[in-house]
Point group: C2
Chain length 239, copies 2
């Protein structure tokens, strides 16, 4: 099966935007698939590639963290990484390349505004999967992805609230409601990922503020506080 | 800093067991680190490499699944992979190379029998991280890791109870206790990983049997049933 020459040209444009040569050893069929939403085909869509792409971006992020923050406490790596490669971040990067223009999607699915971020993140991972599987190496991915990862790592690292969302949340709840948030932590068994050994919820009286997981109770509380911080205290930081 | 020649020789032996040449472009310092337990040094140990190695094995497993089971429902990939690269599996592979012989560890930590599986799994990931970072490619990893992954994928794929642990568990509880297990499912918010969107617990009256996560309620129930199946119904399958 050959790609429609117009589609190929479109994909070549995208690849050049990523900073790759259009003569790079890219499997264009795969890339086409990586940019095909499940609404177009239940079978031939980006879902499998997204699964691979998710693993690709996590590996690249692990490497970038280790290279750039070798002195960081290892317990922080997992939470730093989950911030670095959140759906929101991936969607942001997707947007910076105008990815939506290259995505094959049905009109009705496109109308689902609430699903836009996860759709963009999925397609971004679809591209990563397609590029990785084109050579079975990181060669087509890291040259352009690393700069995004590094920049995001710096941003998170320099965020004054980083790892201190509990304090930030406490300041907010005391200032606004004269009360302290309450943390409820329990063990998350069975443990699939070490970084999710504990689950913490943070509440203010009867109001659920946020939830998070972590390798330690403290880390889970911080993750919960972070969610509350971004979604309730400062939602504008997310937009 | 140079490695003690005896340690180098030891590591070369291990590398040859993996099927690699001792002249391969291996960063021996890193490999030494990948096999150093935190009880030996709080700073220079395998933890950072383990973080990278975890991402390496997940990427390799994703690729193996896609290559070997292209027709599998994509929703199953995540649960298949988590079975493929569980601590238990990694420890099994570590054991097959006699990894414990190469691990630098304090005597008291070694005495912690309960921690043996996670220790072996961690060191195994430490090796993967060291080999991957030696070349920043999969070249030193996939030639020997893929056969393990493929074999494990086949094993899981052919397991008659695969994806049908709910039935298996129901048979057991009806046969033994004349009662049905009960599932309690809730949404796991915020979602860090799609494969963990739902959390299910399975109970038999007041007895907690197992817990699991999944991208759908059904998948989470299956994962919970699977845990119950292996840990309570057929614990011998785990030993």
């Amino acid at each position: 099966m050959n790609l429609d020459p117009r589609r190929l040209k479109q994909l070549q444009t995208l690849v050049q935007k990523l900073g790759l040569s259009k003569d790079a050893p890219i499997n264009w069929q795969l890339l086409d698939l990586g940019l095909t939403h499940p609404s177009v085909s239940g079978k031939d869509n980006y879902q499998q590639l997204e699964f691979v792409g998710d693993a690709v971006v996590r590996l690249a992020a692990a490497e970038v963290l280790l290279e750039n923050y070798p002195e960081a406490p290892v317990g922080e790596f997992a939470s730093l990484r989950s911030m670095m490669v959140s759906d929101r971040t991936l969607a942001e990067w997707a947007d910076s390349y105008g990815l939506e223009r290259y995505l094959l999607i049905s009109a009705s699915a496109m109308g689902d505004k609430a699903g836009r971020i996860s759709r963009l993140a999925d397609a971004f991972e679809g591209i990563l999967g397609a590029l990785y599987l084109s050579t079975h190496k990181m060669d087509l991915v890291r040259p352009w992805l690393d700069s995004h990862l590094k920049q995001k790592a710096v941003e998170i690292w320099q965020d004054p609230a980083r790892q201190n969302y509990k304090d930030a949340l406490q300041e907010w709840s005391q200032g606004k409601y004269k009360r302290l948030p309450e943390y409820r932590v329990r063990e998350n068994l069975p443990v699939n990922l070490k970084e999710e050994r504990f689950i913490a919820e943070v509440w203010l009286d009867d109001r659920f503020l946020g939830k998070g997981t972590g390798a330690s109770k403290k880390m889970a509380e911080q993750t919960a506080a972070r969610q509350a911080f971004f979604e309730i205290v400062h939602p504008e930081k997310f937009t």
